[in-house]
């Protein structure tokens, strides 16, 4: 029994796809959480990922978010290869440490036993290291392109993936509980703000203007998610439904191209569920977002999805429009068990 033979046919790729996942496999020890998952999300689509508990939905989310490195396979986001097996990754630390060590070595050779001169060269090497290491940590764009030109590839870190346009919410709410609703959204805007520590300490006009503007924008995200007037409430004091809304507002603040929603209506009453469903629809029409949704509530899934992918025990068992999925015998079997014969 080969996995590929059983998997449903993949949607054909187009150059405009937001996300393309190629044969993603993830093993945790002996357990195969994901097996050869092919997955394509067209731009401005709402795609749902469903499946019974333990099917690998959240694992797949975490792989896309860069939190869990896949055992094999690769992920492209808006045409950029972000996650793939590493190539020549050992070369990178060498690039950091070779220049300072070289300077030190030259220093030792040149100064001919004069310990003070050696110390001076050592200081120079140290200075070089304090320039290189923070750069390597920040990974600015020019550094990344330089690294790629050397043929080095290592997967993007979760924060880099956010930079490339993925925002997400969590199945079990993970707000910053000791911060206000507004501050939670402001954390989401982290990458969009530019002010440096020096600006902040000196409280430059630029910094203050940016903070002011950021607060206005953050309040707008809160309003969009239906949290008007809740700005200064601590996240932990918000009612459950509002915490879910705040998760969405915070993810929107990352200004994503692709929004990953992990069970956004879990634990909500039918009225709230309806509101969230309407909100998701508006995110596409008003903000032009692409949405990948994990959801257990079939009314939500069937109501707003363009396409649905069904996972079961780490395999993609079906893919299609809501109508097709509703009638798919493998899906019915996965959810209800084999009918007695």
């Amino acid at each position: 029994m080969t996995a590929t033979a059983q998997a449903a046919p993949a949607v054909p790729e187009t150059p405009d796809d937001v996300l393309i996942a190629r044969s993603i496999t993830k093993q945790f020890g002996g357990l195969v959480a994901l097996r050869n998952i092919e997955f394509v999300i067209p731009r401005r689509a709402i795609v749902s990922l469903i499946g019974p508990n333990g099917a690998g939905k959240t694992t797949f989310f975490n792989v896309i978010a860069g939190l869990i490195p896949p055992t094999s396979g690769s992920i492209e986001l808006s045409g950029m290869r972000l996650i793939a097996p590493a190539r020549r990754a050992w070369l990178e630390p060498l690039l950091w440490f070779a220049p300072p060590l070289l300077v030190l070595l030259i220093g030792i050779l040149v100064s001919g036993g004069n310990i003070q001169l050696v110390a001076l060269w050592g200081l120079l090497a140290l200075l070089l290291a304090t320039l290189i290491l923070p750069t390597a940590m920040a990974r600015p764009a020019w550094y990344e392109s330089f690294i790629r030109r050397l043929g080095i590839f290592r997967s993007a870190r979760p924060n880099d993936i956010v930079r490339s346009g993925v925002g997400r919410t969590f199945q079990n709410i993970r707000l910053f509980h000791n911060m206000t609703a507004l501050e939670n959204v402001l954390v989401g805007m982290h990458l969009k703000l530019r002010s440096t520590p020096v600006d902040a300490v000196l409280s430059t006009p630029r910094h203050r203007a940016e903070e002011e503007e950021a607060r206005v924008r953050a309040a707008r995200y809160l309003e969009l998610a239906g949290l008007r007037g809740r700005d200064d409430e601590l996240a932990r004091n918000l009612p459950y439904g509002d915490q879910r809304r705040l998760e969405i507002a915070r993810a929107l603040a990352c200004e994503p191209v692709l929004l990953l929603l992990d069970e956004p209506t879990a634990g909500m009453n039918p009225r709230e569920t309806g509101e969230i469903t309407a909100l998701i629809g508006r995110l596409r029409t008003e903000l032009g977002l692409t949405v990948l949704l994990i959801e257990h509530d079939m009314r939500v899934v069937m109501g707003i999805s363009d396409r649905i992918t069904v996972l079961d025990q780490g395999e993609r068992i079906a893919e299609g429009t809501p109508e097709e999925i509703r009638r798919n015998p493998r899906v019915i079997e996965a959810y209800l068990g084999k009918p007695p014969s």
Binding site: H190, S203, C254
Partner: protein, 344 residues
């Protein structure tokens, strides 16, 4: 936000006045026979030295509390980072040729500013480097491993200073002459004491503003609360943790410089004692809480000096730690409780 700052300022002013009265009262207890005006004068003088010592502890305690808040590590090397700060300031001042009091006021201010700037930057880099090489590789290791590493770093720093600079106490330049004094309620207080207190307060307010209302401050708080979620909101957690170490160590460097100015004498193992007391201060105030750390620092400075004025100077250490135990029995999370580091 403004309301919170105003409230904090009011509380701080109240605490300052009450502790002043308390110190005068304790002085009266210690020297009952003296006249009232003498008691007030002595109490006031002692109060200002309590503020100075407290300011040093508070600045060190901030580093402990910030690091604990963000990665739950008790950074035992922090006391020695403070010690290195004292020696870096010593090297800066002596290499510029200043071995004693500077007479010209503009020159004095210039040299002090330069000293603070260079010491804080050098120490910040040292702190970030310690994090990069000693703690980051162990970030996901069992809690005990980085703790032992921290103790190791502490000994390494001591050893390096011992070998490179001196094995015995060195006289650190007292740039601010003790002849500059002001008189208050009959007490003649060196201006240096007030200066130290003010510098510390300015640094603490700057830290509060930074942590409370800036992009990087929010990144720090979010990383402290949920590292993974912060990362998935685009926060570069490695950079954030490095910045935390940078700031904490820079503050310890400032404290080291102040210590040298105040005591006039530094030695390679001075970080051990001061570090432990500052750590105590951080726990007392509520570890992970920056306001608490400042409060705890001043509290410990106060207790130490109060022990002297009441004639219990030989019981100084026992008193400090008895208060710690008492506070923790009734408030296990410290006076103000955890704030930054509190996990969801």
């Amino acid at each position: 936000m403004t309301f919170r700052i105003l409230r904090l300022a009011l509380i701080a002013a109240g605490a300052l006045v009450i502790s002043w009265l308390l110190m005068i009262g304790l002085t009266w207890l210690g020297t009952r026979s003296e006249s009232f005006s003498n008691v007030v004068a002595t109490g006031t003088a002692q109060y200002f030295s309590a503020l100075t010592i407290g300011a040093i502890y508070a600045l060190i305690a901030l580093g402990y509390t910030m690091v604990y808040g963000i990665i739950e590590l008790i950074n035992f090397a922090h006391g020695d980072v403070f010690m290195v700060g004292a020696f870096v300031a010593y090297l800066i001042f002596t290499s510029l040729g200043f071995g004693g009091a500077i007479k010209s006021i503009p020159l004095l201010i210039g040299i002090l500013l330069l000293g603070f700037l260079v010491t804080m930057v050098v120490l910040g880099v040292l702190g970030a480097a310690i994090e990069r090489f000693a703690y980051r590789p162990l970030r996901n290791a069992p809690r005990l491993a980085p703790l032992i590493t921290a103790i190791g770093v502490s000994f390494i720093l001591q050893n390096v200073v011992q070998v490179l600079i001196s094995n015995s106490p060195v006289p650190s330049p007292q740039l601010v002459s003790l002849e500059y004094r002001f008189t208050l309620l009959g007490a003649s207080v060196p201006l240096l004491n007030l200066l130290i207190f003010l510098v510390a307060v300015v640094l603490m307010i700057a830290l509060q503003v930074f942590v409370g209302g800036t992009r990087l401050g929010r990144a720090m708080r979010s990383t402290a609360q949920d590292r993974e979620a912060a990362q998935l909101m685009g926060v570069n957690i490695n950079a954030t943790i490095a910045i935390t170490f940078f700031i904490g160590s820079a503050l310890a460097g400032a404290a080291g410089l102040i210590y040298g100015l105040y005591k006039g004498n530094i030695v390679f193992n001075l970080g051990f004692d001061a570090g432990l007391k500052a750590f105590t201060a951080a726990v007392l105030g509520g570890i992970g809480n920056t306001v608490g750390a400042a409060l705890g620092g001043f509290a410990i400075g106060f207790i130490e000096v109060a022990a002297v004025t009441t004639g219990l100077s030989r019981w100084q250490e026992a008193l400090v730690f008895s208060v710690l135990i008492l506070v923790l029995v009734f408030r296990p999370a410290g006076i103000l409780g955890q704030q930054i580091g509190e996990r969801a």
